[in-house]
Amino acid sequence: MKNYKTLLDDLIPRKFDRRGTVWTTFLVVVMVIGIIAYIDQVIKGQVVTNMRDYALWGIYISNFVFFVATSFVGSVTVAILRLTNNSWRTPLVRIAEIISLACIVMAGLTIMIDMGRPDRLLNLFIHARLQSPITWDVIIVPTYIALSFLLLYFPLLPDLSILKKHFREKSPFLSKCYGILALNWTGSKFQKALQEKSIKIIALMIIPVGITLQSIDAWLFSTTYRIGWDSTNMGAYFISGAFVAGVGALVSVVYVVRKVRGLENYITEFHFDKLGKFLVLACLTYLYFNINEYLIPEFTAPKEESIHLNALVSGEYSGLFWFAQIVGLILPLIILLFRKGRKPLPMFIVGLMVVVGSWWKRYIIVTPTLLHPFLPIEGVPESWHHYFPSMHEWLITAATLAMAMFIITVLVRYLPIVPIQKTAEEKGLLETNKDIEL
């Protein structure tokens, strides 16, 4: 009885303390500034960005790719670990589901920021043409949003019903909200069977859909004739990159949530150790595809391609390229190979390195290729020969990142971040406390 109570006290959503309020206010401010910048962009046109006819895509696109990649964490950690019966996932899955949902929703929004004519958004449906990879994206992103939502929502039902009971006296309004969301969950055998089955189906579906999403994202690039994009390696390269970015984001968020909510008893060093090994696997896979993408072509690269590769390895983009490769991939790989590297704090730092490295990696994939066309760049102002994001682009991009973190923060605030019912069940607390649960 007492045990279950402590568990409930530990895991029930709590009001923000001062840090939480300051953090949320900060995010809101960044978002508001970004929205103002975006309105300005809509009025003046994309001339406020530093994108021009050659660097025709910029950080809006690379940021979109980053969001899509990070959203992959829902498929890999939740679905794959569930289907392979890895029970250590329990305290981590909800955070993964939340990150996944927040990122894919933001991916959908970010891609619209890049549109020259956002007012004609509906044309994508009215005049849709199936052979365009953008149409594939229009189909797959909402599908993934729906599946990610359900994968977060269905396992939540028992917890929502617990929250409804818990807040009955303390906050009738919250209790009512949880009640509505709980869909009359009673925990009956029939409901449980139905829930179990639904989750299984979604978990099965989200893996192919997630892989398709990442592939389509890669095909956006590889269906063009551009040097550096026109590569058969792209699909697998993006999937493995998404694996890295997603797990990296998961590690970082898990560490912060654990620290802020004091969940040391639930998310233990054991879990970090496991996550660390998972991330090593991701990094090794990604390393393999990086070798395929950048090292092997050096041998037979035609002239245009070797100009491109040299600009990455030793030219204009070498700083960013090696930053992304070393900080975002090689160093994490080395650190995580050691047991000490898989302790919570080092893991957190590695997670951040991976996330930042992943973000810049997407920049490196998008920008240099566009500035290495087949025909010479001539007859345009000198500034068009280079690209670095403008203030508008930074503000808007910062706002999209803030919005993703805002969604995560709000969900962490109102949802039990570690599944209550499942944890109780696993710890064997539930059988003796049936009356409380029902």
């Binding site: 046109g45 994309q46 549109m115 004519r117 005049h127 365009s132 025909l375 102002p381 068009w384």
Partner: protein, 322 residues
Amino acid sequence: MANDNKNSRRKFLDKGIKFGLITALGGIGLSKIPSKLDAKPKNLSGDKMELMTTDGTLIQVDSSEVIEVAHSEDHDKKYNVREGIPNRKFVMVIDLAKCKNALKCVSACNKHHYITGENAWLKVHKMQESKDTAPYWMPRTCMHCDQPACVAVCPVDATFKRRDGLVLIDNERCIGCRFCMAACPYSIRVFNWSEPNQGEIKMTMDHDGHSSPDYAGLPSVKGTPDKCDFCPHTIKNGELPHCVTACPNGVFYFGDKYEDTVTNGDETLRFSKLLVDKAGYRLMEGLGTEPSVYYLPPVNRLVDFKDGLENYKKFESVETPE
């Protein structure tokens, strides 16, 4: 009990769907019957009309049977901007041996398309394959590919391929994703990053009924791309594109592949013979984009490459108004 209920519901649904399908099919069938019945001559007027068939025999037909052929109605006059001019396949030949970077083509193009941006649709590249080979000037229009990469990736069919070979843009439909620009291996597309400010020109065009899409992408629209359009507004009237007429050196030949003739205004040549005689080629043939623009190699040049250097501007293709 619950199970039973479920089963019967499933049965009901299953039957319902089948029944619905049969009804729908039946309905379609029934609706066809009256039109079939209608096809039989109801009441002949008795008036006979003499007509000549295409092979020259005279026949008599009841006058009530005579109907005007629907498509004969201004078949040639009616110009559908998405279909293009019937039975034509426009091609261009650019003779690199003659080009000396006079840039008259560029300024004529800029003027007639009211280009207000900083990137011209038509540019002349300074080319040199390797340091031991001769440099040359290469005018570059849109290739109007027969397998256009830009059209393949457009999500809304805003850029399209016409039967007469032109690749054009419907800038009233375009969503501004710039995928076409990314897809084009020749980097020929330019984007209206801000309001094009074509000013009075836009008003005259609206006045003349030229406004897009009937004028094939003109005037320019903010947030959409533009590109070399092979001047459909001039070829529609049987005139040559502006770059062809503006070139003082006769570099550009324009014509119809089906007629097998191209002309630069001064001389008219057999298209296929020209390509064979002068070893014509297309840019990046290996990509399989099948361009409609052919190049003749820069051989036996009468002009010195260096003469063109006077006009060469690395960072400017559209003259900024004073």
